[in-house]
Symmetry: D2
């Protein structure tokens, strides 16, 4: 941590803050320039931060130089994390393909979806039972009934299944049905939900918040991990910008940035990122080429009948073509 | 709703979609231009939307022309809402001043804070018992113990009290202690929490999400209202932009925009919006002048000892000066 | 300047970069922590920056701690700048009111506009002769002819006049007609134009770029000032965000932020910031209350006939009412 | 164009606006719903827009349904544009690789750079002679001298050359030296410069503004094209967001969006988009896979000595490796 002093800070101010730092058991290094004095602070800052050094007279600002997340930090675990979910591997040199409808609508729909994504090459089925919708008047999901249908579809096809949870109650229900939990963008900083996910013994896909920085996202992962559950998968799904020709702006750079900062697997959701069916194939290729560990794609047996997000759902044929098209890119990246 | 057809849409395409619209009991008006055909759709669109008209062959896009929120909409209730909380009024020609520390730290601290904000002219005390913090390693709040201290401080000073809840569990605990619940920016789209707040019989301050549009915010209010609790207060607290000299960017235009769209009271939080103590007074004056119904300001008896957000907390003297400075502006705006 | 070393930086790396810093005539202070080494660098960094210290082996990143603008910096001139334009003062305890149509359309229109804004209380007339328009097919302005009309309108009414220039050629023409030049948002980083404005002996209103940070804006002002022309007026006109209910988002915090960083006068353009006529009065009051040194407002004698931006233009009566409404706020702020 | 009427619009209001539309030679279609009246307007809107229909009593808002750019619009030219610059082709199934230093620093530096990027496989050399720099105190470029050096380097290596121009004067000088002009992000809406480029008979790389929407960008291209020069190449170089771990946020979706809207070639600049050397290879692969027509990459013979942007420059070996790595991806995309 670095303390930058105000230009008009007095000797007294400097002496006082240095004493305070020392009283917390930390060391300081003083650098005095012509127009600027800075104080480097060395050691564990916890105690010092409680004293609010930024508010001491003469202090202009504090610059943090190390990250606040630990368990998610690549500096503390250099090897990429790999999770084995009953034989389906995520991370490392594996590439996972998650597909299915935005919402589970009926037993038939989810089973049909499962069969077609399985046939095209997906190894994990997605489907929403608890739907976070902007308006209270939109379809909100089949809840536990939906999870039942999905579990059955998973068992019949051999696909692993993932579904979003939007509350602690939903989480407690869902973990008995699904293989992977998903926490959506809107709940990325629902810290109570993150803590509850941290106590569950099940992998968690954590989507990036609509305007979350990568550091906040890694801190959200840290919430889950610090409770004991270290199997977190990060999913980039687009951030909000001023551009309106896509629903969100896919931050493709998040893949290499995360690869340099964390050991956790990173997947991409091109469906929510773009909101436009025609853009999903090019963005999926880009995701593979950028080094992502997988994709999560909306596929609906009959997109024109979908109860939500139909405009961004692929139909089974499109998805089959996409999987075929991606194969050589996945191989080029050394993934399987 | 308006359906814009693709340039190459066929007669067949147009016929098909019009039939579909009619089959949902709606009327259409067809406008055929040289390079563009548009279809106006009149009536209740619920059924039609379930058929996903945007995915029909030949349809380029759908334009929504009316808002999806109803109870919060000024079109359906022109008069501004006013809430009377045991004599403290919010909305209409009242101006409310909410102040207190970011976090409740001890019985003494919250009582001292209450006494000094009361003396300066505040009528409501704020203080956090459940703190949503970016890092799991930061101070997380005193929880129910904090609420107890706060209730006592409220009773001793005659101030109403407001505190943030971050989960349904916290909400159920808090509603027995506080006069107003607060739902924070990070939970603005925690829809399960919104629904729970909608079932409670207590006013709710709903903060705007860090990157929420005003329409999403009003839809979030609608979640609460549609469950039966119509006493929602909207709080603008800054949105996220690329500018770094303030913590967030206070969207002052939100005040007149909301005043034109909704009857709900609107307050401003200049402390979180700016994150810098020196900017709070000018932003508070601007908030009053823009027509806001109140302010919520962080005041700590000893900011340099605050466990969180000290850098943006006013000390009691600063707050007293601010209240005095704001008075003539509040009068000019015809508020009391 | 602070150099943060990589966690795995070797002794050799550290030695090498320190030697380089010393070879540029600078001093260093080394702080070695358990997991982090930082090097404070003291002195004039120009030479060092040319060696690209950020690319030396072992260096993780560079943190700049002082601003790159000098002449605009309040640290080097604490007193607010005041300009006297033939008796019309801008800055200090003066409040200036600039008003007029978006574009000069005819001799009659600009004269009528001048008379009505004068009557309402404006002291400076605005009007565009060179219009930067998003589409090449929109009205582009009357150019020199327009400036002639405007000069005449200024002479007849005694108003000072300001007009935007979009190229060096336009600047050279305009400076013989107007009292103040304006450089628009789209040209805030048209550095050649800024340099040309720096060589002219005439005050310049410099609008903030649509997505410029305050630091970039002050550096743009520095471009003008470093060429010799120190009479720069900063104009906040809204930044681009994801919010769509206003044309741009007025960054009202820019007023106090600039007041803490620079001695240059700061004015607000609520017309372009909001793009909606109804929001101009509340935003103008907020601008006054936040401490701005003036306003620039679009007023058209017949908004429904305006060739550009009619939707955000006030008519003469609205503007007269606005001026009357603002008066007590201006007095409260100690301005005249 | 669609006119949405206010809820409380009178019969009189509706009659008046319809008459006005008809008086401009346009047709209308009226749709009257229970709570909303909309009027479709058919024909050429130029005349109508001059009457500002959005300001007529009773009109709530105007919705534009067709794009304002014509020559750049794929609807008017479905085939992708291909330019042949003395044998180097851009667009169609060609993939171009543009590389070189941020700034031309000396005859030796640019020649060395040219030789190494040629050897690695680039076919066009980049290098800045006129540098737009945020601070007036940063290195501003060698200007015409730099262009001379560059031309010589191009002739010796057989590479085509491209350089940025920042003013009409620079443009007039540069067009005698270079094969392709570049207009940078900060000048994307310097309309006078665009018009001048439109009069030159030379291809132009037009970079996207830091916060320009894709529609504004296409309108900027239209400025160039409408003056007669139709050889425009669009270059995505990152937009500004709140994320700070990269210099800008590469909007990879811009590639498929542009491919659906325009026939102009699209290239990507991963160097400026990320600002971090380690991220250039993954972003380059992503750009190829998303369907871009080329890349423009900063390569400096000795990045640690670069006078600007060294932190994002590749050294010759890195660039050679990158070219080799990209080859199979380029083949997979059917490009040569």
């Amino acid at each position: 941590m670095i303390l930058v002093m105000k230009q008009n800070a007095t000797e007294e101010n400097i002496k006082k803050i240095i004493e305070t730092v020392h009283s917390c058991g930390l060391k300081t290094h003083l650098s005095t320039g012509e127009s600027l004095t800075i104080i480097g602070v060395i050691g564990d800052k916890k105690k010092l931060l409680e004293k609010n050094p930024g508010l001491f007279p003469g202090v202009e600002r504090i610059i943090q130089v190390s990250e606040s997340y630990k368990l998610a930090n690549k500096k503390f675990k250099a090897e990429p994390s790999v999770y084995d979910i009953d034989g389906v591997k995520i991370g490392g040199d594996n590439f996972c393909m998650i597909a299915g409808p935005c919402a589970i609508e009926s037993k038939e729909q989810i089973l049909e979806a499962a069969q077609c994504v399985k046939k095209a090459g997906a190894n994990i089925l997605r489907g929403g039972a608890y739907k976070p919708r902007t308006s209270p008047y939109s379809f909100q999901g089949l809840e536990e009934k939906g999870l039942e249908y999905m579990k059955e579809a998973g068992e019949k096809t051999g696909l692993k299944i993932v579904s979003e949870v939007t509350s602690i109650e939903a989480l407690n229900t869902a973990k008995d049905y699904v293989d992977i939990l998903q926490i959506g963008a809107r709940n990325m900083q629902n810290f109570e939900l993150l803590k509850a996910a941290g106590k569950a013994d099940i992998p968690v896909i954590l989507k990036r918040g609509l305007c979350a920085t990568i550091d906040e996202w890694l801190n959200a992962a840290e919430y889950i991990m610090s409770e004991g559950n270290e199997r977190v998968i990060l999913c980039e799904r687009g951030i909000r910008t001023f551009e309106t020709s896509t629903r969100n702006t896919l931050d493709i750079s998040a893949v290499p940035v995360l690869k340099s900062k964390t050991h956790l697997p990173v997947i991409i959701d091109p469906s929510h990122a773009s909101g436009v069916r025609e853009y999903i194939a090019p963005l999926s290729r880009a995701a593979v080429a950028a080094g992502s560990d997988g994709l999560i794609i909306e596929v609906h047996p009959h997109p024109e009948c979908a109860l939500s997000d139909g405009a961004q759902s692929l139909n089974p044929t499109d998805f089959e073509n996409l999987c075929a098209e991606l194969k050589p890119f996945i191989s080029l990246m050394g993934r399987k």
